[in-house]
Symmetry: C2
Subunit: 255 residues, 2 copies
């Protein structure tokens, strides 16, 4: 296995480059639509994804890449070293509000998370870490996760789940302190790491999940597939992510 320090160094290096590029030049042009009016991809998404994959594949030539915009590999298993890349998570925020978006890289070895990095671009913060490394923001250790109950904290249910199945989530929202919707999985992960929220429920793709789960594993954050199956890093799934207490309460309220 490639040395974890080497992985951390390379991922943080490209993350800083990408963050500074995005902050210096907030060029929101060249928007393409993907599946619908609200699923956007920009030239910046594609350019940054290519840049990240080129940088990392140069340093880790045997690694595989799973990525949002299609410049990665098509994997059927997770053997070896795999980088999950989301160049701009929250593209709609990137385009419409110019804040609340993130770049994410998650690193797995034989299916296990070893490192993750999430850059909150407009707050100029990089959250990173992994099970063997601990969890940090901009080189400072993150404060420990407080195992808050559902009633003690704010939660996020994605707007898609809310619009389609509000009644399924109503009692969870009512048991919590309140509902917040930011429109970026990466941003919500950073809020969970900082004890700003206690539960996040959304249908997420592997590149939405990988970095956050790797950092979260270092902090004791829980993550379960809503249907009870193990989390599968090769497909989309609806997940409950949060403090141990609040995740269990949420699962109980759903059953």
């Amino acid at each position: 296995m490639t040395d974890i320090e080497q992985i951390q160094q390379a991922v943080l290096q490209i993350m800083v480059i990408v963050k500074d590029q995005l902050r210096t030049n907030l060029n929101f042009n060249h928007v393409e639509k993907k599946s619908s009016r609200t699923d956007l991809v920009t030239e910046r998404d594609k350019q940054i994804e290519k840049q990240i994959i080129a940088f990392l594949s140069d340093r880790f030539p045997k690694a595989y890449f799973v990525s949002e915009e299609g410049y990665g590999d098509c994997l059927t298993d997770l053997s070896g070293l795999v980088f999950f890349v989301d160049p701009i998570d929250g593209t709609l925020n990137f385009v419409k509000s110019h804040d609340q978006f993130a770049s994410m890289i998650g690193v797995y070895h034989d299916g296990q998370p070893i490192f993750g990095a999430i850059a909150d671009i407009m707050q100029d913060q990089i959250f990173y870490g992994g099970p063997e490394l601990g969890a940090y923001v901009n080189q400072q250790p993150l404060a420990p996760l407080i195992n808050q109950e559902l009633s003690a904290g704010l939660i996020t249910v994605s707007s898609r789940l809310l619009m389609e199945q509000l009644n399924n989530y109503r009692s969870i929202i009512n048991h919590s302190s309140g509902l917040r919707i930011f429109g970026s999985a990466g941003i919500i992960f950073t809020r969970l790491f900082q004890n700003k929220e206690v539960v996040y429920i959304s249908n997420l793709k592997p590149w939405d999940l990988a970095a956050g789960l790797a950092i979260g594993k270092a902090m004791g954050l829980q993550a379960i597939n809503i249907d009870g199956a193990p989390i599968n890093m090769l497909k989309s799934q609806t997940v409950i992510i949060g403090t141990k207490c609040a995740t269990i309460e949420t699962k109980d309220l759903l059953s």
Copy 2:
């Protein structure tokens, strides 16, 4: 009528004091519950409200005060000079996530908005202005409001309205680019001023509305009562606030 420059100077002076106090000492203790588990008031809310009212009533002895925590006057009309004070808007965020909260002061004369200031405490920004003054953030003029359509932008519907009447708002949300929920009227006003969102729908109290409407009037932001009546600054009401285009589209979709 008291000179508008004098009002601006005094409001901004106390706003900077309050913002710096809150940023220096994020003391979240002494939380009391108001009407429910999720309606909180802290000692800080009360202390700041008293401080603002003392500061302003000293300088404007004939003025009236309408305020959230009960240290103001009980008004039945809006004659003369009236200050609307919300010491911490988004108290739940203040307590739970330590971000996304605001302090707000709106100034009206004979029922007409003349000045407003909204401090986004954790972003260290004060938005302010009025019909005769223009609109500013931290001494810089705000960029003009872009008259975006509903489909072009993000919107906020308060979580209370969503939970109680999702079906009333479903088509508005579907026509927009997406739903965001931040949990603070003041923060959403600052997002509207910056073209980050195009519509905000919520049931708001006078102190939630006053500052934002005064600044918004300088920018061409529209605000209508959802039932068609004029906005009444002596009571709560459900309002649609946004760009001209998006506010009309929203109203049409509701009827």
